[in-house]
Amino acid sequence: MSIAVAGTRHLQALLGSLGKLARNPFSTALTLLVIGLALSLPTALRLFILNAQLATGGFTSAVDISVYLKTDVPLAKAQQLARSAGERSDVDSVELIPSDKAMEEFRNYSGFGAALDALKENPLPHTLRVHPRSDSRSPAAVETLRRYFAAWPEVDIVQVDTDWVRRFNGILDVVRRLLAIVAVLLGAGVLAVIFNTTRLEILNRRSEIEVTKLVGGSNAFVRRPFLYTGALYGLGGALLAWAIVEIAVIVLSQSIATLAQLYGTRFSLQGPSARDVGILLAAGFALGWLGAWISAARHLWRIEPRA
């Protein structure tokens, strides 16, 4: 068989499958919806992980040391301490957050504005935010720095922001595992849906299959339209899942932006990347094709023409 002939046959099977799907819009839509919803969940989880990493990206990789000075330390002394801290070889930079600036931020974002006005004086201390150099971020190096600052008489508390980073990464790891489990389970679900849809389709078209075999249609020829139908279901469901996720991103982005503002960061929700979409569509196509293939292998051989 020449390539042109093979191409023609595949094109015929593809167009035939498209036509059949278009002729039963309601059942096609229902099947697509089931597959779309099933595929959208792992895609959404994947986006959740991605965005969580992005949102926290600034401090999950870096380690910050917050040095809270005692409240009676004057600003001039705090500035001097900040300078001397910055001279250490293992410190990259030091940011001084004066108490009135900290108060202002707190007033803006906490929602306690009115309550804070009632306070006679600012209860917040001056704070040094110390960024260690990139080669001094190992737990041991950070511990050395922590002790160094804790030994200063002007220092009240030294807080190393690594515990919650580790916990957060732990949570993300759990979600990542969850994503794998959900993806496998829902992938199996999609396979089952397409397997069953294909089975019904084969039973419906029994007489057509018999006649096709009578006039010399090979098993591959008889199977082909079912494979295309399955693949189209999978691909269509994946496109629907993509649409669902994009719509969810649009719906959520406004409130996420507001939330980010409350935390004082500028973060916008990321939709799926081109690579994610590519993987989603490929997975949908492959699951559809595979489900139909298994179903056809299981059900087609039993249909042999009777004269």
Partner: protein, 230 residues
């Protein structure tokens, strides 16, 4: 073209449909298989088309031994045989054109070539111009002619028909048989199973009489009557 050598066929339910049947049909012959219902006519056709395999003996079709032919070669084998059925087995939801084109599509013929050959086949059975109609919209005789067009569209060297006139009145039956003989005239081997003895006598072709799973008679000397003259 076809050679049965001591062929027996026992179905899985235990019924012995054929018992040690031996006969030969030559290329270009037109042969009627006659006999009562259940005598074994359909089984002979099924063995020829490889819808069944013989329990004992050998069936040769176009020099191929159907007993040893591998399953994956059956589709190619069947494309050498045009089959016509009593209930014509057309696809009800497809227009006439699609029904007739099916063997060509299956064989990978280009659409352009298929279009030409479908029209030629429909012309041969007198149905040119009805390509877009659905089988249900045609008369019973026309439906059977669509079935015949489908059987001959890929120009197979062998045409087999199982009770092709079973649902037709005598006039239509004769018309269908004349159609078959026109294919014989262009070199096609034609095997027709029928219990319509009237038609068989009119045509004066070779007649294999099957009774109780055996060849009861092989009549080759019918005199053609006037209405069957070519």
């Amino acid at each position: 073209m076809i050679a049965f050598d001591h062929v027996s066929k026992r179905y899985s339910n235990g019924r012995e449909a054929l018992t040690s049947v031996t006969f030969e049909i030559h290329t270009g012959e037109m042969v009627f298989l006659t006999g009562r219902s259940g005598a074994g006519k359909s089984t002979v056709l099924k063995l020829i088309a490889l819808l069944e395999r013989p329990t004992r003996g050998t069936v040769l079709v176009s020099g191929r031994n159907t007993t040893t032919l591998k399953s994956r070669h059956i589709p190619l084998f069947r494309r050498q045989i045009g089959m016509v059925f009593q209930d014509h087995r057309l696809l009800a939801d497809r227009p006439v054109f699609d029904n007739v084109a099916l063997p060509l599509i299956v064989a990978g013929t280009s659409l352009k070539e298929a279009d030409k050959r479908v029209r030629a086949a429909l012309d041969q059975v007198g149905l040119l111009g009805k390509e877009r109609m659905l089988p249900m919209e045609l008369s019973v005789g026309e439906q059977q002619r669509v079935g015949i067009a489908r059987a001959v569209v890929s120009k197979p060297p062998l045409l087999i028909a199982d009770e092709p006139t079973g649902n037709l009145d005598p006039y239509l039956a004769l018309e269908i048989m004349r159609l078959f003989r026109r294919f014989q005239d262009v070199g096609v081997t034609v095997v027709v199973a029928t219990h319509d003895l009237h038609v068989v006598r009119e045509f004066g072709q070779r007649e294999l009489v099957i009774d109780n799973g055996q060849i009861h008679d092989d009549v080759d000397d019918h005199l053609p009557s006037v209405i069957a003259v070519r």
